[in-house]
C-alpha cells in the first residue's frame, strides 16, 4: 500500500534543546493514529516540523509521495485551541470559512457557496445555531468543534490534530471521535496528538509512541503495551501496570 506520510531521519531543535532526534516513521492510508508521549516529548513540534511550521535541522518529509509544499491543499491541520486569542472579533462561521481560504484563492472574496459549505460543517458539529456567535462566547468544547469544522471544510486526505480532546467535556469528546472515525471510514488518514493513555486503545487503531525519538509505532493492539509505555514515559507511570499487566 502507498504511504500517505513518510518521515525520514527528522531532526528539530527548540532554542538550544534538541526536541526531535532522528524521527522516522510511515503512515498507511485510512488509519487513525494517536501520537502519545510525556510532556516535552516533541509531539506538537513533530506536527509543526512536518507542516513546515517549525524549522527542520534535517530530514525528509513526504506526503502522498511528494514534498509537503506540493500537496498542502490535501492536508488539514487543527492547532491547539490555546494557540489563538479567542477574544479576536469574529464569529464561528467566519472561523470555519478560514478552512476554505485555500480553495477560494488568495486575494479573492468568499462566495455564497463557501458560506453554505462552512455552515454545513458547523451543523455537522452540532453548532448550526451558533454561526453568528462571537467566538469568545463559545465554551471550550464548542471552540474545539469550530476548529474541527474548519478542518472538515478543507476536505483534506490527511489530517493532523493537536490535542483536540484536551479540556473538552464528554459530549464534545464523542462528537469529535465520531467525526474522526467517519473520516477514517471514508479512507482519510488522521493523526492525533493525544494525552489520555486510558482511551488510546478504545479510540485509535494505530499508535506512535514518542519521546524525542520514536519509541514504538504500529497497530495499537500490538504496540500499546506496558513495556513500550514504560520505555516512553520512563517508568513514571507505575499505576498503568495494574491495568495493562
Amino acid at each position: 500500500m502507498d504511504r500517505v506520510l513518510s518521515v525520514e531521519q527528522l531532526n528539530a531543535s527548540y532554542r538550544k534543546n534538541k526536541v526531535l532526534d532522528n524521527v522516522s516513521f510511515e503512515v498507511l492510508p485510512g488509519t487513525l493514529t494517536a501520537i502519545v508521549g510525556p510532556n516535552g516529548a516533541g509531539k506538537s513540534t513533530l506536527l509543526k516540523a512536518i507542516l513546515d511550521l517549525h524549522p527542520r535541522l534535517s530530514g525528509v518529509v513526504s506526503c502522498f509521495g511528494s514534498p509537503y509544499a506540493q500537496v498542502k491543499s490535501r492536508i488539514g491541520y487543527v492547532p491547539q485551541r490555546g494557540s489563538v486569542d479567542w477574544d479576536f472579533p469574529t464569529n464561528a462561521l467566519d472561523v470555519v470559512m478560514m478552512g476554505l481560504y485555500g480553495k477560494i484563492g488568495w486575494l479573492k472574496w468568499p462566495k455564497r457557496k463557501h458560506r453554505e459549505l462552512a455552515l454545513a460543517a458547523l451543523e455537522e458539529m452540532g453548532l448550526g445555531n451558533y454561526a453568528d456567535r462571537q467566538i469568545s462566547q463559545l465554551s471550550g468544547g464548542q471552540q474545539q468543534r469550530v476548529f474541527l469544522a474548519r478542518a472538515l471544510v478543507q476536505d483534506a486526505d490527511l489530517y493532523f490534530l493537536d490535542e483536540p480532546l484536551a479540556g473538552v467535556d464528554a459530549a464534545t469528546e464523542k462528537v469529535i471521535m465520531d467525526t474522526l472515525n467517519t473520516l477514517k471510514n471514508k479512507g482519510r488518514t488522521v493523526m492525533v496528538v493525544h494525552h489520555d493513555l486510558q482511551t488510546v486503545e478504545e479510540y485509535f487503531d494505530h499508535v506512535l509512541m514518542l519521546n524525542r525519538t520514536v519509541i514504538a509505532h504500529g497497530k495499537t493492539a500490538d504496540t500499546f503495551n506496558q513495556a513500550n509505555i514504560m520505555r516512553t514515559y520512563g517508568g513514571s507511570l507505575r499505576w498503568m501496570g495494574d491495568r495493562l499487566g
Binding site: K72, Y77, S83, V84, P89, M98, Y101, G102
Partner: protein, 306 residues
Amino acid sequence: MMILSANTQWVLLSTMMLGMAAGVVGCFAYWKRQSLMSDALSHAALPGVVAGFAVLGTKSLPFMLGGAALSALLGALFIQWIRTSSRVKEDAAMGIVLSVFFGLGIMLLTLANRLPGGQQSGLDSFIFGQSASMVRQDVYTMLGVTLLVLIVTLVAWKEWKLFLFDPQFGGGLGLSGRVMNLLYMVLLVLVIVIGIQAAGVILMAALLIMPGVSARYWTHSYGGMIGLAALFGGASGAVGTLVSASGNGWPTGPFIVLTASVLFVISLTLGTSKGLLVMLLQHRAQRAALTKQHTHPAHETVERGG
C-alpha cells in the same frame, strides 16, 4: 464659525487620513499584541530624521522621512535580534530600543541645532508634531500612503484576518507568515513615518493604539472594528489639528492624543459590546432576574427590586 485657510483645509484632510491609516494599522498591532512595538518604532524614527537633515544640511522631507523609515526599521531589527539571540524578553527589548534610539535622536538634534540653518530647520517639531509646518507636498505624501494602507488592507482582507487570528493555521494553508509579517512591518513603519511630522515621535504611538482599543468596545466584528478604528483615528486627527490650528504655534500631537483619549473614555464607559455601563446593566438585569426567581417560592421573602 472658524474660517479655514486653504492650507489648513489640506492639512486637516491629511491628518484625518493619517488618523484613519493609523487606526487600521493600529488594529493589526493590537491583535498581534504589539501595541508597544508601534511606540518603540516611532521613537526609533527620530535619529533617522535628524540624520536625514544632516546629510544635506537643509530641510528636505524625502531625506528626513527616508532616514526615519531606515532608523525605525533598524529599531525593529534590533528588537528582533535582541529577542532571538538573548534571554531578554520582547517587552524589555522594546524598552531598550525605544530609549536608546530616542536618546540618540535627542543628542543628534542638539548637535544639528548648532549647524548653520539648524535652528530654522523645524526639527524640534518632529518631537511633538506640528501640522502647521506641513506643505502641500507633505499632504500629497500622506494621502498617497494612507490610500496605499487602505488598499492593502482591503485587497488582502481575509488574508489579514487569517494571519492575525491564527498564523499557524494560515501557514498550513500556504499563507506565508514571513511575508505577512514583513508587509505588516512595512505598513506600520510607513504610517509612523508619515505621522511623525503631524503627531510627533513621542505621541504617534497613541494615534496607533487608541483608536483600535476604543473600537473594540463597540463591536465584535472584524470589519466593524477596523471601520470604527479608522473613524476614531480620522476624527482624532481632524479635531486635534483644528484645535492646534486655533492657537499660535500650538503643537498638534498632544491635541490629537487628547481627542483620541476622550473617544477612548467614551468607548470604555458607553461602548455597546464591552463598555462598563453595558456590563453593569447586564449584571443588574441578571441579579434582578435571580431575585425574581427567588421570590416566586412562597417561603422566600426577598422583596428587593433590583
